[in-house]
Amino acid sequence: MSADDARRNLVSLRELKRRYKLNLALGSALPPYDQSISLPLSTGNPLFDAALTDKLTVTTTMSEAEHLHRGWNLVKGATPDEMQVLAGASQGLLNDYKLLLALKAWQDGDTALTRTFLRSLPWHWRLAFPIAVIKPSAHIFTGWKRSLRFRLVDAPRFDALKELYREVLAQAPSITLLKYRRVVQEATALLHYRFTGERERAIHDWCYDAGNVAALEKSVEPIGVYVRARQALRTGGASALLDVLNTEEQVIPITSYMGMLGSAKISLTEKGQQGLEGLRDYAIRSATAVESLLRLVEWSPWLTEKRVARLAEKVRGGILETGLDIPFFKVLKGFNAAPTKVRKMVLQPLLLPLLRHFGQQNAALLPPPGPITFLQPANLIHVMSFLLYATLTSAAPTRLLLLKKKGIEEVDPIPLEEVGEHLADSEQELQRYLLSEFGNLTQSWDYTYDFAAIQETLVGLDPAAPLVLDLPYASDLDTLEALLPFERVFNLGSAYGAPGELCIAYEYYTEFFIGTRKWNHSVWSRYSDSAALKFAEVMDRLQIFQQLAGHVESRDGATV
């Protein structure tokens, strides 16, 4: 099947929505308020849906235990075909379900399939697998529920589990053993695991003793570096710690490093600390590209141009060149929370290359036909939805239509470089840009729009091409009618209700409210703060929904 055929065969958004409504009626889909990732979509298979949207956490009406019970029953009843389909898409599933599926495979005695699901889990979860088999509450729950006694897998098969764990330990990079010491300790204790060979004995020493033996074993480095550094810190303070860390080739992970500093009551932000600059430099050296992006706010008081340049180098090598999939919304959240000074510093070297990278990733999730059309009011420029537009513009053909009181104006593409330059602006600087680019439009607080022009414009668009709407306070029957033929409408405002439409995210804030039994008056502001963030998340989910829904259709003919 060619790529074009595959695209044509993708299950449509309207079909995913229809399947969700039917499954909801049958009681086999969770209502949106009990989904951890709230999406009114269904592949047609309740297990597949749960693996894409359900997490084992408290939701509006369900407890963690209830989610676990429901999830485990769905997983337990999975057919071999369903297990194979999910194994093929395991990277896109939520971690909670990858774990439940690994447990089901283990219960069935299918070690190969267990390995497949385990490989798709992060190392922390992989190392905790025996805990999930023997004492699931300790891995799945928090607080008092960790002590609850129950099992999901009827027979843990201790001997086989020990062999599997031996394999996991052998594959585990030593840096993960350093990071997840307690998990390995708990798992091996529950297993009554017998450590054999030099590397395993070193792991035993690291988990159950002071780590002095582990420090001599090269195969578990950087555990040795950590133990030596800890010793140096105890005896000689920060400068001795730096002497050890800077002479070692291996780097300890940032979490271990910060933990060590924390227990010695050393803060990277407090002035007067001995060797402070060296300690800060090592923090930059030890963090991975993703970790450093997530720590922008924490590090903001001492980030310098030079340190940002080193972080940018890491991002180039660790994300852009490897194509690593990192959570767009987390990066943007970190960037937005950072002080203006840091935002300005990291904008060009770090954020803009990442935004281009995200643009390409997202554009790939929106297959042709194009272009992607954005329709939004001319006088309400929401920076986050505008950023979404600019990010996609850098990777795919787009159109920007600005809705006015009279008519609609198509704006020549505004490149990401131009919008991006202003992401770190102060309020005044951003206003200056908006004033120079959009003139009086940004200061027109008149919320009446030309709905007739919307309908005319929509009729002229290809209904198979993606359409992104960011229309405030607009609920117009004629617009809904014009939207009916569209296949991919992503709405950043409240839903119109078209079958091919998906409501992404919007926020209303009460500015003023006064009311009695007989009347009320309120003033609201509407923003799409989370537009760019949620859009990336929804696109990613949508692709996997379509992929798995294809399997349901091809197997069953009729879907539900």
């Binding site: 235990a65 005044q428 004033l435 003139g439 200061q443 607080w445």
Partner: protein
Amino acid sequence: MKLVGLTNRYGGRVAVQISWGKQLYFEAPEPPVDKILFLEFPGLTLPSDGGTAGRLGFYKVQDEMTRAIIAFLTERKQDDTSQEEAPTTAEGRRKKRRQINEIPADFWRLATLDDLLEVTNGTELRYVLTQHFSLEELRSFVQRRAPEATERLSEALTAPVGAERLAALEGVERFVDTVMVIGSIIPNTISQELDKARRMLDRERIRAAKLPAVSGPEDLALTRRIALLSELKHDDEVRNFLIKTAKAIKRVGLLAAEVTAFVHQVQKNKRVQEAAIWIPEFWQALEGRIELPATEKGITLDITNAREVEVEMDWAVFNAHRIGPIVSGRKALLVHSGDNKIVYYIRGERKLLFQVRSAPGGHLEKYDCTLTIAQAEGQQRLRRLILDVERIDALAHLDPDAALASVPSAQDLPAHHPIRRTVDTARADCRQARVLADLLIELHSGVDADIIRSLSRRR
């Protein structure tokens, strides 16, 4: 058309908003920001001139006024530069989109109080007048204009009742209204002047104290700062001074013991404590620098009613009774005990409640104190049961047999009882597990399961 408007800054430009919805800018030289301007658009009248808010509706008048001004300014600009009216090229459209409406320099000047009598929107800015005109300017205006207003009103009242009286009153309405509005803001302005004077004196006191610039702990001069605090009269100045001191403490990294001693000193001054009753910035700056050691030893405390909180520093936490050392920013249990509702913070999280609940006799030795959960029937029964409810609720889904076993009153149920039958169906069906949880919770507590479940969630 004559108007008054308050200037603001947008995008580095000075702007004036003369009505809801539109902002106008200025040709060079721009006026100062945050000033009331008198604006005169020569030859311009409202399209429905003479229309008042009463006849056209407030927003409509505003809208018409704005449209008229924008049309007037646009027309004037076109006369000057003969710009393209309906651009056909992309560049032309972009240029048009980027246009802003600018008021020429000879159309505005700084407003006086007397200008308010002449303009269409004279009383619109009544709430900001105190910030723009001094007490002396207001007094002088009222002294000059109030007699005139009463005189004009008296004259209008001499007209015979009917059409003549109506016309006469309409003629003086705006003038009297504006004068009286300006008169009515004088008491508020006096309060502001007093406030300003107190602030000024406090600032002079702070300046006179000549505190050293803080570059190390030795420069903090905390004793002098505490003495100075008790001299300050204005609440805002007290708060600002405290916050600045806290930030300086943070900057130089003063030892926790010394910081704690400083806060104790501050607390001794009741006047300062009153002024700083709500001062989050002060506590934020001192976050992690205040010691909150255990204050209690050997007491027995019933924690049935305790709830988990994230400790946020304030005076209440600082003065609370503490069992075990408390750390701000971390979780702890909070309980109000006894008839006097004494506040206790207990080091630990919610799971401590479950530990005490399952400890033999329902009490546990912790941090040199004895923590208990009410055991006797009728003694805070429902609060105690909430802990059981959570446990039953979880077990009904994870291990239905254990859920049944955890309810003493369910042990004697016959084999055919619906609760026992539900235990079997609950294993494979989470909806049945929910039913089992409901049945067991109601049997155990005697309260509707959804109600007690939601109470438990809130805790």
